[in-house]
Symmetry: C2
């Protein structure tokens, strides 16, 4: 198990690593284990790889706002990351990151970087009341939770996911009808959360449409992640809530709290509606 | 007054017009009347200008998702808009729009365009209960509503804003403490709403921190706007809600319904915390 203060050696750090490429940009090796089924890599995982490249080119250490447009489904294997720096000041810096594979660009990300602190919030949304981790339902340990016809995504073996039983009925043939999921998350190898981990957590649950009884794939079109504070060690709590479903589109909001109850990240995505 | 089906001649259409420039991109003349005070142009206005350029280069007629990074405060006057097209398919198209003035880039926008419909939503957030327009408080007609030390922004003369009295206490020296504003909006010249108008409405209210009794400027860093349906003619209802305020940052969500009660747009922004 890696040390809390030395994430080297964790599956997440290995799978999101970037290094300088020959042309001044970065290269990454996208890992096939971070998929959502059918060889499709998770959008939050891809966004974390882009965030790593943005931070590597920034005077500031943390991603605070990322907006990604998913141009094509990315596959595992080598990827190039070009970072175009924008204005950089004492408080924050902007950049644009383009991820490409052999077929061309797959993901474009506007990144704002800054330095996050552990200061207490002046105002924040309180953490919802959820049973403790040991009373929640493990996705990885319950193959039966895979919706009919879908393989279990690799992601559930990388990110340990414990569903609030109140939002797990869909997996047992009793969808609540309400597109809401709540779950405790941490990396399966106990690598502690940090801002990059939160970027991945911000898209790591099954589609909220599963809770409403629809098991089709819902490809993300645009995903915005805001990281608000440095997370404390331990489990994070995620609440994912589906919004409006209309005209072939739906949106989904995530709110993430750390183990101390602090709000640490939020995301919103527009996706195509599940079939 | 312009015809409903002929928006030419409206102040909004004139102020957001783009035309082909000599280098293949677009040029616009940013209008000083769409400011939020101190000569700073409204972020939603600038985003609508960028959206017009994105739509002009797209096979699809409407902006459905826009994520803008505000690099510097833009000033009125000539602006250049470069549109870099991304993948375009039958359902949607991506592009990246960069707005620049003489000093360099001011705003970078990832745009997703598609064709919106008037189809009924399968699920949507219901419109909140707000008094009718005639019982609400006009920002333009109440100079007293300007916070101490701030001039009345030009925007309130372009976008007619009628505050729900329940969220107007801040203007009368009785801030509710809750960072929530609700208001009916339409253009002052009765130009009917469309997807581009919704992009501007999605950032058109005073900062929600005003309702909580803080009257400092809160510059937008990143703004994401999702347009979900074609709005019906008439007033739109906007609810703006401040989220977490921590470490010098805050976030704000807008939800917009049209006159029939349909949810037509949403936005989320990360801003620097008001002083």
């Amino acid at each position: 198990m890696p040390q809390d203060d030395d994430p080297q050696g964790s599956a997440f750090d290995a799978a999101t690593a970037v290094r300088r490429g020959p042309d001044g940009g970065f290269v990454a090796e996208l890992h096939p284990g971070w998929d959502v089924g059918g060889g499709i890599l998770n959008g939050g995982y891809l966004l974390a790889v882009a965030a790593r490249a943005a931070v590597a080119e920034s005077p500031h250490p943390h991603p605070v706002a990322l907006s990604g447009s998913y141009l094509r489904a990315g596959a595992a294997g080598p990827a190039a990351l070009a970072v175009a720096p924008g204005p950089a000041g004492r408080t924050l810096a902007h950049s644009l990151v383009t991820m490409s594979d052999a077929g061309g660009p797959t993901l474009v990300v506007q990144a704002t970087t800054a330095r996050l602190t552990g200061a207490a919030a002046e105002r924040e949304l309180p953490m919802p009341d959820v049973p403790p981790v040991e009373d929640c339902v493990s996705l990885a340990e319950n193959a039966a939770l895979a919706p009919p016809g879908l393989s279990v995504p690799g992601l559930v073996h990388r990110v340990e996911t414990r569903l609030d039983p109140a939002t797990a009925g869909w997996a047992l043939g009793r969808p609540s009808g309400e597109p809401v999921l709540r779950a405790w998350l941490r990396f399966a190898d106990d690598r502690e959360p940090d801002p990059l981990a939160l970027v991945t957590f911000a898209d790591a649950l099954p589609p909220t449409s599963f809770a409403a009884g629809r098991f089709g794939w819902a490809p993300t079109v645009q995903l915005q992640v805001l990281v608000r504070a440095l997370p404390a060690p331990g489990w994070c709590l995620i609440e994912a809530r589906g919004g409006t479903l209309a005209g072939g589109w739906h949106d989904e909001d995530y709110t993430i709290w750390d183990s101390t109850g602090r709000l640490v990240a939020q995301s919103r995505q527009l996706a195509r509606a599940p079939r």
